[in-house]
Amino acid sequence: MAEIDRDKLLDIYTRTMKVNRTDEKFRELLMGGKVAVMYYCVRGQELVSAAAMAALEKDDYVVCTYRGQGEQTAKGIPMEKWWGECLGKATGTCKGKGGTMHITDPDTGIMVTTGVVGSGLPIANGLAMASQNNGDGRVTLVSFGDGAANIGGFHEAMNMAQLYKLPVIFLCQNNRYGEHTAYADHTDSPNIASRAAGYGMPGVTVDGNDVHQIYPAMVEAVARARRGEGPTLVEAMCYRMMGHFFGADFSYMPPEHIAEMKAEDPLPKLRQVMLEHQFTEEELDKVVADINAQIDAAVEHALNAPLPDTDEIYKDVLEETA
């Protein structure tokens, strides 16, 4: 396995912590009753999103889900706009009309965030098809869960992407649960990546908590897509360390699972890798402190930002109402 250079490691670490601190901050706000919105925690999946976004270029396209905070912040949506949207403010990416489940920010390539399970994959194909048609060299990455792999749209999209050799990367974040249903209760598939072969597509399963597995897998998939060789299914094994959404019960998770999940926490592991690569505790703490400061400022900005005008409900319906 090729070494990841120090700059890239720092980049991944920074993105990972941005995702993590955003998640912690969101939970803190919700816990404190400061805001009351749907939020799908990403605790445990930070590294997967960070590594995936670190493997992309700035103008590559991304399609994500309600649990897309990781991709969104790691890809680089300006924090003020991101928080503005999540708090339903006029300053949000979507003027507060999309919300936590529907973040769109074309400037950073976040093209759709969808709340309908599995619906992002076919759309990702379309973005990739546009790139294939106009030769802009972009690739499209779509992130989805293990549960989403059971819906028809997954299948149709995989088959079509491979048929056309679309420049798309299917990133399945297998966090072992779809809402309350454990992996073994939603499929008999040995793993999701095994389904790729049935489409004639390469598929790999990697440990999403190990930067040396997830990042190279993403780089290879991106390179393959960029070379015009077609799509790859990358299954990143990870854990959803919280309930399905903030505040949701997760007593259905067996204790063994919880223990396993804690043992596999990507953050201490990544920190360890950073230390092994001669980053100092101080350097790493500084990264986090900077992020915290940025997040605090962004939250403050968003909390004080104006609400969208009420007549926004009549706008952006059709072009005539734009």
Binding site: G99, T100, H102, G115, N150, I151, G152, T181, Y252, T310
Partner: protein
């Protein structure tokens, strides 16, 4: 009598039907005990009683869920399939409309399709554009299905039981905001026949025809207006399609005025059919046009105050009623 919530009412009705008929079973995402009995707990406690075959937690595969219900119904069972939120019917309309609804007709009556599709939705929960739509008009436009929605716990119990009894597919719509409503338990075996509306409040000046959550708004508005001397008759359709035309028309013939009200977007909504039908059948009794109130014609927005503004407003109901009865 004991008080029950709508959640409990639905659970009791299903439990009772499962106890009475071994052919009744439930399937849907997260519905079994291992998952906590459904995200809204409607099937809570039933796995323990009836075992995993009769409370099947499924993969996220709505087409497979509805298809399985159709097949089981053809084989003589009475499946209750859950589509977690109404917008997700978008991925399985084919099974509902081209199959469940048509198989009785296309088979020349040989294969009726007795199944209930439970689903929930509602504006005001903060779920945003893809999780809040009221799509009953789509189903009402399809021959071969009943579309049912309760506005209170007693009706929920009675309508669910009747829906499970029905020998045709029923789309059973629950409003998330109504799950917590409490009312007297009508008790075991209670049924509310499909296709029968309730006069939720009698009145003489105008008929306000609605269903589901907005029945609560209608009743509140009627209360307010009573104080101003305007007598509003509130009709709770309970079955949206095929609806209780007789009750609606009789009411309008009495009051001479009508307004339809629903949370679904107004254009091409169910209110249009009801209004069109009323003006056609009650032309001579009408003192003015039938008005219609519905949700804003856009996706449901996320920001809370926008979402609240999107919903039909009580102030608008009052204004329209007053305009109708000529007291504005």
């Amino acid at each position: 009598m004991a008080q029950i919530t709508m959640t409990q009412a639905l659970n009791l009705a299903i439990d009772e039907a499962m106890a009475d008929d071994p052919g009744v079973f439930c399937l849907g995402e997260d519905v079994a005990a291992k998952q906590g009995g459904g995200v809204f707990k409607i099937t809570s406690g039933l796995t323990e009683k009836y075992g995993p075959n009769r409370i099947r937690a499924t993969p996220i595969s709505e087409t497979a869920i509805i298809g399985a219900a159709v097949g089981a119904a053809l084989a003589g069972q009475r499946p209750i399939a859950e589509i977690m939120l109404m917008n997700f019917v978008g991925v399985c309309m084919d099974q509902i409309v081209n199959h469940a609804a048509k198989l009785r007709f296309m088979s020349g009556g040989q294969t009726p399709c007795p199944m209930v599709i439970r689903t929930t939705t509602g504006v005001g929960v903060g779920f945003g554009g893809q999780h809040s739509d009221m799509l009953e008009a789509w189903f009402a436009h399809v021959a071969g299905i009943h579309v049912v929605t309760p506005s209170n716990p007693a009706d929920a119990r009675g309508l669910m039981r009747a829906s499970i009894d029905a020998n045709d597919p029923v789309i059973f719509i629950e409003n998330i905001l109504c799950y917590g409503l409490k009312a007297e338990d009508p008790g075991p075996g209670y049924r509310v026949p499909l296709g029968k509306a309730a006069i939720a409040r009698e009145g003489t000046d105008i008929s306000l025809i609605t269903y589901g959550r907005t029945v609560l708004d209608a009743l509140a508005v009627a209360d307010d207006l009573a104080k101003e001397g305007i007598s509003v008759e509130v009709i709770d359709l309970r079955t949206i399609a095929p609806y209780d035309e007789a009750t609606v028309l009789a009411s309008v013939r009495k009051t001479g005025r009508a307004i339809t009200l629903h949370e679904a977007v107004r254009p091409f909504g169910t209110g249009a059919e009801i209004a069109a039908n009323i003006q056609e059948k009650c032309w001579d009794s009408l003192k003015g046009p039938v008005r219609r109130i519905g949700g804003t014609f856009s996706a449901v927005p996320f920001a809370s105050h926008l979402e609240q503004a999107w919903i039909p407003q009580k102030s608008d109901m009052i204004a329209q009623i007053k305009a109708s009865v000529g007291k504005l």
